[in-house]
């Protein structure tokens, strides 16, 4: 079975291996998943402290990292994270795209001038981040489980999170590894290649962005043509993820990633599809074989989450309702969720 659970210190090696796998094929899927052992260990440690409720201060709001585990093998196949407050107590940088109209009444000229404004407008929004998955699982149910389990976590810990949620989608990177938006803008100011900047941006201190980012707005018309074309466009490999997020209710607004110009999706937390359709249910206590057959025959595939904080578990299984309003699931699901008959779970149709 597929299980999403909080990352543990012992997961470091396997996560690094995934980062490696992903790396080789797609250049990267998430700049917020560190590729350095030490930074990753620290991130997991902070996630554990967040889950234990010992790390929540204004300067260090909760940041949680989940992993996708195959319970049969114990192997980890993906990661997904959620930061309670984008920027984590520091400014969260984006470009906000806006238009000015340059018009001359006398000359009868009017043209739309697009401007990229440095913005911290998404600071303190809840942020989905650190998503990575092994290539063979793309477009499977496990992919959907990994992404949506975070929403069920939010649903179960609503007061940890703010009322707006955002997610950055990787922008256009060409086959040769070049990033047109970066090459036309950021490179001139940061004086480093895209990957280096991208890795730095995963670190806690964003001082280097304040120091190196051009302080004034930028005219889109002065970007290279390929950079203009890349503005707000997702990397083709992120399209399945993008579509999944759109089904979740996320929409692209006026914000763009400052490094690659990729789109930033936004949604109201309380309007997230999975959150809206999810329901708390008690587990039905029944004889094992009976439940199995009922569920296998007539049940619907559901995301089922249970547990609080470090005990959070989320899996994917067929489930069926009962007349009393309880939820019938195969007993192996009980085991994976570490719950038993009568315990509360949260369920959302797949």
């Amino acid at each position: 079975m597929w299980l999403v659970r909080p990352a543990l210190p012992g997961d470091v090696n396997q996560i690094l291996a995934i980062a490696g796998t992903v790396d080789s094929e797609t250049a990267r899927l998430s700049s917020t998943l560190p590729r350095q052992r030490e930074a990753l260990a620290e991130k997991i440690q902070h996630s554990q402290a967040s889950l234990a409720g010992t790390a929540s201060s204004d300067s260090q709001p909760p940041r949680i990292l989940f992993v996708l585990e195959d319970t049969a093998t114990g192997r980890i196949h993906g990661t997904a994270g959620v930061d309670a407050r984008a920027g984590n107590g520091q400014p969260f940088y984006n470009y906000r795209r806006d238009a000015l109209i340059h018009a001359s009444h006398e000359l009868g000229i009017s043209s739309r001038v697009d401007v990229l404004y440095p913005s911290h407008g998404l600071t303190d929004h809840t942020l989905l981040c650190s998503f990575s998955i092994t290539p063979e699982l793309r477009n499977t149910d496990a992919f959907e489980l990994l992404s949506r389990a975070r929403i069920l976590f939010i649903a179960g810990h609503r007061d940890w999170f703010t009322h707006r949620v955002a997610v950055e989608i990787q922008g256009v990177q060409l086959a040769d590894g070049s990033v047109p938006f970066w090459d036309s803008l950021g490179r001139h100011f940061f004086n480093m290649d895209f990957d280096t900047a991208d890795q730095h941006s995963g670190l806690l201190s964003k001082t280097f962005i304040a120091e190196l980012m051009p302080p004034n707005p930028v005219y889109v018309t002065l970007l290279s043509e390929s950079a203009q074309a890349a503005l707000g466009q997702p990397h083709e490999l992120t399209v399945p993820n993008l579509e999944l997020l759109q089904r979740e209710g996320f929409q692209a607004g006026c914000y763009l990633d400052i490094f690659d110009g990729g789109p930033v999706l936004e949604a109201r937390t309380d309007a997230l599809h999975t959150l809206v359709i999810s329901q708390p249910k008690a587990l039905h206590g029944a004889i094992e074989s009976e439940v199995e057959s009922v569920v296998e025959d007539g049940g619907d595939l559901c995301l089922i989450a249970a547990g609080e904080g470090a005990g959070f578990r989320c899996t994917l299984a067929k489930a069926a309702g009962t007349l009393e309003g309880t939820l019938k699931v195969p007993v192996k699901v009980w085991e994976v969720l570490e719950k038993t008959a009568g315990d509360q779970v949260r369920v959302a149709p797949c």
Partner: protein, 354 residues
């Protein structure tokens, strides 16, 4: 004889002919009869002190006294940016550095600026092709410095000149193509003409207001910022010899540099001396090379006249002038005149310090 004198109504046709020949390069004097007529009238009002001093436009003609024709023009605008907003780009540097990452980047940046507002501009220099050489261009340009010095209270302490920027034979400007054209939906020459006609509100409406980071412009555009058109190189060299320096401002359309100097440090001003005129009885050979001639002015505000005479005419307190020169300057014996070199003195002498 060639004499500098205030431009007057009867110069219109000569001026129009010169403007036509000059073509697109000279936006302050477009070949437009109505506009030129208005400019002449404005200059006349200025010399006759019938307009506010800060609105003054001082236009001088170079007249060939044999034909009575104007063969050159040059001018001083008392103050720019009072009627219209006067725009330049200031070429500045933006530094971004991170000690932590060991990164230190300097980014040349263009900032829209109105900082030349209220400063005097020397402008509108034009010399008929037939009269090039022989120091005529120098006379036409430098006579203005004598005037600036004589009547300092009418001008700012600092004066500047906008130099024509780089464009190709078709009149295409690399900076315009890379920058201006993205914001102004027109050709460079059209923008330049509109700007010259004096209605600049379209600039306020269409101009990008935020700084332009130069690395975002193509090499061809960056290369011409602060550089002058080939045809203007001699004029730039002359002004530099006078003590004018690039002040970091460039033209918003073609990137041509602005050069400036304090009036009291301009070489013509520093090297000028006052004498009294003495009408010579003996004939004087006026036909000496430019390098041996000096400018002589009549020091008149309303009827400023300048011509050149051999340096040998100068003595301790006076300068000997042939009757024809005195007549051209409209002075008599005993009248005060001002003298200044037409060409630079040898450089060696100047740098013989320390």
């Amino acid at each position: 004889m060639l004499v500098i004198r205030p431009l007057k109504e009867t110069d219109l046709e000569d001026l129009y002919a010169m403007a036509q020949k000059a073509g697109k390069g000279l936006t302050t004097l477009p070949a437009d009869r109505d506009l030129l007529q208005r400019k002449i009238a404005h200059a006349q009002q200025t010399f006759n002190q019938r307009c506010a001093p800060e609105a003054g436009l001082y236009l001088f003609a170079l007249e060939d006294t044999e034909t009575g024709k104007a063969v050159g023009i040059s001018g001083i605008q008392a103050r720019v940016g009072l009627d219209e907003v006067f725009y330049n780009y200031r070429l500045s540097v933006t530094v971004n550095a991170s000690k932590e990452l060991g990164v230190h980047v300097r980014t040349p940046t263009l900032h829209l600026s109105n900082d030349m507002t209220d400063t005097s501009e020397i402008c509108s220099l034009l010399l008929s092709d037939d009269y090039h050489g022989g120091g005529n261009g120098l006379l036409l340009s430098r006579c203005r410095f004598m005037y600036l010095d004589e009547f300092r209270k009418h001008f700012s302490e600092k004066v500047f000149a906008e130099m024509r920027g780089v464009s190709d034979e078709q009149g295409r400007s690399p900076l315009w193509d890379a920058l201006g054209s993205k914001f102004f939906d027109m050709e460079f020459t059209q923008a330049d003409v509109l700007s010259g006609l004096g209605n600049k509100s379209f600039i306020a409406e269409l101009m990008p207001k935020y700084p332009i980071y130069l690395p975002m412009l193509p090499d061809s555009a960056r290369a011409v910022i602060g550089r002058v058109h080939g045809n203007t190189a001699p004029a730039l060299k002359m002004l530099q010899a006078e003590g004018f320096n690039f002040n970091g401002m460039v033209d918003i359309f073609d990137g041509g540099p602005v050069v400036e100097a304090f009036v009291n440090t301009i070489r013509t001003v520093r090297d000028s001396v006052n004498r009294h005129a003495m009408i010579a009885k003996k004939p004087i050979n006026l036909n000496v090379p430019a390098s041996e001639r000096v400018m002589v002015s009549n020091r008149s505000f309303r009827n400023f006249r300048v011509t050149t005479v051999p340096a040998s005419c100068i003595s301790t307190d006076t300068v000997s002038l042939p009757p024809a020169v005195a007549e051209a300057l409209q002075i008599e014996s005993g009248d005060p005149v001002r003298l200044a070199p037409l060409k630079e003195k040898p450089k060696a002498a100047v740098h013989a310090l320390g």
